[in-house]
Subunit: 335 residues, 2 copies
Amino acid sequence: MSQKKISIDDVARRAKVSITTVSRVINNVPTVSNKNRAKVEEAVAALKFKPNVSAQRLARGVNNAIGLVMPGYPGIFHSFYAIELVRGIGHSCETLRMDMVFHITNGFNPINNNNVGGVIFADIIENRKQVESAVATGTPCVIINNKVDDLDVSYVSIHNHFGGELAADYLYSLGHRDIAIVSGSFNTQAGIQRFDGFRKYLEKQNNPLNEEYIFEGDYSRRCARVAAEQFLKAKKRPTAIFAASDEMALELMAFFLEKGVKIPEELSIIGFDDNPACLYGPVALTTIKQPLFKMAEESVRMLHKIIQEQKHVRKKLILKPELVIRESCAPCPKK
Amino acid sequence: MSQKKISIDDVARRAKVSITTVSRVINNVPTVSNKNRAKVEEAVAALKFKPNVSAQRLARGVNNAIGLVMPGYPGIFHSFYAIELVRGIGHSCETLRMDMVFHITNGFNPINNNNVGGVIFADIIENRKQVESAVATGTPCVIINNKVDDLDVSYVSIHNHFGGELAADYLYSLGHRDIAIVSGSFNTQAGIQRFDGFRKYLEKQNNPLNEEYIFEGDYSRRCARVAAEQFLKAKKRPTAIFAASDEMALELMAFFLEKGVKIPEELSIIGFDDNPACLYGPVALTTIKQPLFKMAEESVRMLHKIIQEQKHVRKKLILKPELVIRESCAPCPKK
DNA sequence: ATGAAAGCGCTAACAG
DNA sequence: CTGTTAGCGCTTTCAT
């Protein structure tokens, strides 16, 4: 069944050169004569030789695999956020020729950092302790989507506060004054900060957020329905809603459309993410786009650098989100 | 910054035992005196020692990492299917103490199988060649969601043909005769087989599928809208629709609801997957549940066995989907 | 129950 | 440009 594993010696023997030469050609070291290179390549092909990665890592002393740890709470995995991150990180690893080993964790079971050269934390909901332990053992790591300033780690995040402001500013400038928000979970930095940016902006305009217009969501579609019911019952219906994720915004839209509310004529809705689903529905969703893919790329690049240089020069990177105007917001109808 | 990597020698020295003994305790070999065990454990803890996985794998001669290769076509990643698979496989790996290294591939760039002990193919859309190459080099592998009988590989799949029948049978038994289908992509086995099961069932009832009622979708929400438009224009509107994914079914539902069509009174809709999103909308979606998580688990178990036993006894496993009745289907109104 | 020693497959000085 | 040689950190006989 499984044929004898063939090793570098087999190749060397067949090509009639030393294993060093073989090693050189498989590692693209230039100092090999064309003749030898050809012989080795022939042997490699004929034998279908693939270097043993474990041996390489051991000999080289560096591990070119990175761990990606995802928070394991239910639903994360069905979020656009997580998927984009995985895609982006996967893609970057591919181009940097690193392996990406995947960990889903609920924050309880400690993860192994010893099988990888470093780890990327895709947000740290409940696994702050794991980050600390990684830092303590000197495992290179970078954190995504969280500003962590009390630990010696690099991170790349999104300027969520600014994103919240952006949304508020747009709605406000369209003339809206009765504005509601379905925030993200306050267990996440993103949730808090988007809310904060949004709230503070409105306060600055002397148009502070009405209590009835605040709903703490969790980025999921399900909670958006509950929020919608709440807004419907408010003394005065809001004329605009900011949802901290497109998923929520989309569900809001579906809900109000079902109720016969015209969008955007009677109600403006703005989301957050720039999920491709924005384009599918009956009304294209205006949103705040966050550069998820870019964030993923940068995190890999950072980690790669740390691993290669074998030392950590702390870096912080904050990417700015931007407004993407589509069809779901219109000037305020009232007055 | 990064403290000197500590190795098994350091532990042995500190515990005043041989490295062999240290190796024994970290591998839970019983033949170690309590006294020595305690000393070693103390040293391991004090030094925060973590065994070097590459060295272990090299010495042991087996690699307990598995590769998961996902087709890279756009959208796959936003599908419930992919996500559940990743979750299930991740989970199983965790319990079997294996690493899961992730590969997203478009079928062009060959993947490395030499850094893992085996690989799981989550469907094989465009990467049939990669499967062949894996098989050729003796890399243990198992395929998900495809029956591959012309290659010496194990697979675990879903009885999609039966799933299609199930949907047709349910709709037919509710009295529907004008039944439409939004199939999955015919580039996928699942797409073809669900369609086939569905079509053949109706043929058997002497109620063959009307050409106008067939739409080849791709599992995505977007295409469901196009399908809906087509059905709307049909000479006679169907009274029931089977969609080969819940995503499509949900979008269909949203579309018709917008148009004022009552569901299920005027139109029955049945999906496929049992995506949790089935429950969110205004009308809970009746669907065909496929045991994705189970399929994932089984695939890991199979692969693990092959890797451990170092030999491949081919196995084929076909899991059955089942009908989940909720609110989106009702008896046919006509007549 | 314990340890010495021989690898696992590869890389990286080093010498030529 | 090429080969010899000494490890990388761990497991695993084989003695003791």
